[in-house]
Amino acid sequence: MPNVIYRQADGSEQTVDVPVGWSLMEAAVQNDVEGIVAECGGGCACATCHVYIDPAALESLPKINDMEGDMLECTAAERQPTSRLSCQIKMTAELEGLVVNIPDRQT
């Protein structure tokens, strides 16, 4: 099973096995990774699952659609070029070893 490394603002890391098809948000919540709130449960409706993707991996992710793009303007922590909503990124085998940085706040 591919894994993802979730990195907190304080530098601490958690390596999590993520089944293909699960979103990065779901995997975080199911594995007690702190800092991903996901108020709307993955419906792209709350902007509280905001993450910063390792720049090296950005290109290999599916493009940001309009809805995600609009919601990313509403994040609590500043939007960066590496910002994504983790509920919109589904795990694939190619994303093995992806590093996901968690912002210091979601609300």
């Binding site: 449960g41 792209c44 409706a45 809805m67 303007e73 509403c74």
Partner: protein, 413 residues
């Protein structure tokens, strides 16, 4: 003196949140979660959306896997119906008779579906959508049905209609009011949804009621009376979404004050000093709205539960969060901020024709809420404007050059 013992009754969103908030606040006494259903706490919104459509497996509905509750040190008693509450004696007695003592109690009992009152309502196998079990059953029935009658044009009815219509089923929605979602959205939104569903070939019978349901050899006959008289439809499956009623009986029998829900103050406290309540089962003093209300939403369950947990620990937080809600039907994402009912002025932003617009609601010159279709930035800006009580004018909303999110951030500082 032994460790305190806190008990939470009700294994839904609010119940789970109370447990999490208690531990996060440093509560280290005993904590028990008594849940009637046989499943760990799970998300309900997907039951009428993605889960019903077969796009999400059951395991992914759980908020947290089992080991999480061990880590949180919560004793979870599933499949346990709480029969009796003795508020004076501080005990809860489940149906198996084993008595649970508590120092503080949280009631997060949720709500249950209103049953169809018409003849045949209890015999033809009507599907309701509240629990995982309900949704599983409906998904199976949908797979074997071609024609559906959906009784109730509220969120549940319309979300199910969207799923079924997207599967190519023939769908008839029967709604008593003269417009869809009459309780919760303004006429412009009702019209939008009527057009949206009709564009997917859903038949809408507005201002109509179901008189009778009858089982036939090859289906179910639905007798409808409407503005044009009586008619009958034969369908394979009947779904009812006609509202819920709060589960207040346990509290009522224990002598707690109830009135259209378990009555709680702005801190989540019931009429008993050692009992709080949160979520769908409560009629509560809402700090944002400035009145007593019963709200049925994920936001309310979560935010009320956080306040109630604080109250159990002696804090005096007030429940003042801005209500918000969402519904997904086809490609339309509705997001509601605040409550628009009672508005005297409505301002449109965006383009109804393109299914990307927001209607903002004002009352006596003040912004009170907004309904957004595919305009998440408007929704989030409105939530922020409402939360910070930022003064904003209808003219600013009307002006497409005004960046509302920026306005909300600037004026909030």
């Amino acid at each position: 003196m032994g460790k305190p013992s806190f008990v939470v009754v009700g294994g839904g969103q609010a119940g789970l949140q109370i447990c999490e908030s208690l531990r996060k606040s440093g509560y280290d006494g005993d904590l028990t979660l008594v849940a009637e259903e046989a499943t760990l706490p799970y998300q309900r919104p997907p039951l009428s959306k993605k889960f019903l459509a077969g796009e999400v497996e059951e395991a992914r509905l759980l908020f947290r896997p089992a080991p999480y509750f061990e880590k949180l040190d919560v004793t979870v008693r599933l499949g346990t119906h709480a029969s009796t509450l003795d508020a004076q004696g501080h005990t809860l007695t489940p149906s198996d008779g084993s008595v649970i003592g508590y120092d503080k109690l949280a009631l997060t009992l949720g709500a249950r579906n209103r049953p169809l009152p018409c003849p045949g309502g209890d015999t033809v196998g009507v599907h309701y959508v509240r629990s995982l079990e309900d949704s599983r059953g409906l998904a199976l029935s949908l797979a074997q049905s071609q024609r559906l009658a959906i009784i109730g044009g509220g969120f549940i009815g319309l979300e199910v209609a969207a799923v079924a219509a997207s599967m190519g089923k023939t769908v008839i929605v029967i709604e008593m009011q003269d417009r869809l979602l009459a309780r919760v959205v303004a006429p412009r939104l009702s019209d939008f949804y009527a057009d949206l569903h009709r564009s997917h070939d859903v038949v809408l019978r507005l201002g109509s009621a179901v008189e009778k349901l009858t089982s036939l050899a090859d289906g179910i006959e639905v007798c409808i009376s409407g503005p044009n008289g009586r008619s009958a439809e034969v369908v394979d499956c009947v779904v009812a979404g006609i509202g819920v009623q709060p589960n207040q009986e346990l509290a009522e029998k224990a002598g707690l004050t109830c009135d259209g829900g378990i009555l709680v103050d702005i801190h989540g406290r019931t009429s008993d000093p050692d009992i709080v309540a949160a979520g769908d089962c409560t009629m509560h003093d809402n700090g944002f709205l400035g009145r007593r209300v019963r709200l049925e939403s994920v936001q309310n369950a979560v935010d009320q539960a956080k306040v109630a947990a604080g109250t159990m620990l002696g804090q005096e937080d007030r429940y003042c969060q801005v209500p918000w809600f969402w519904s997904d039907q086809y490609d339309a994402k509705l997001q509601i901020a605040g409550i628009g009912a009672g508005h005297d002025h409505a301002v449109l932003r965006g383009d109804v024709g393109n299914a990307a617009f927001t209607e903002f609601y004002f009352k006596a010159g003040q912004l009170i809420g907004a309904d957004s279709i595919n305009r998440p930035q408007d929704h989030m800006a409105c939530r922020k404007l409402l939360a910070q009580s930022v003064p904003v004018t209808a003219a600013q909303i009307e002006d497409p050059q005004v960046d509302l999110m920026q306005l909300a951030r600037q004026l909030a500082q």
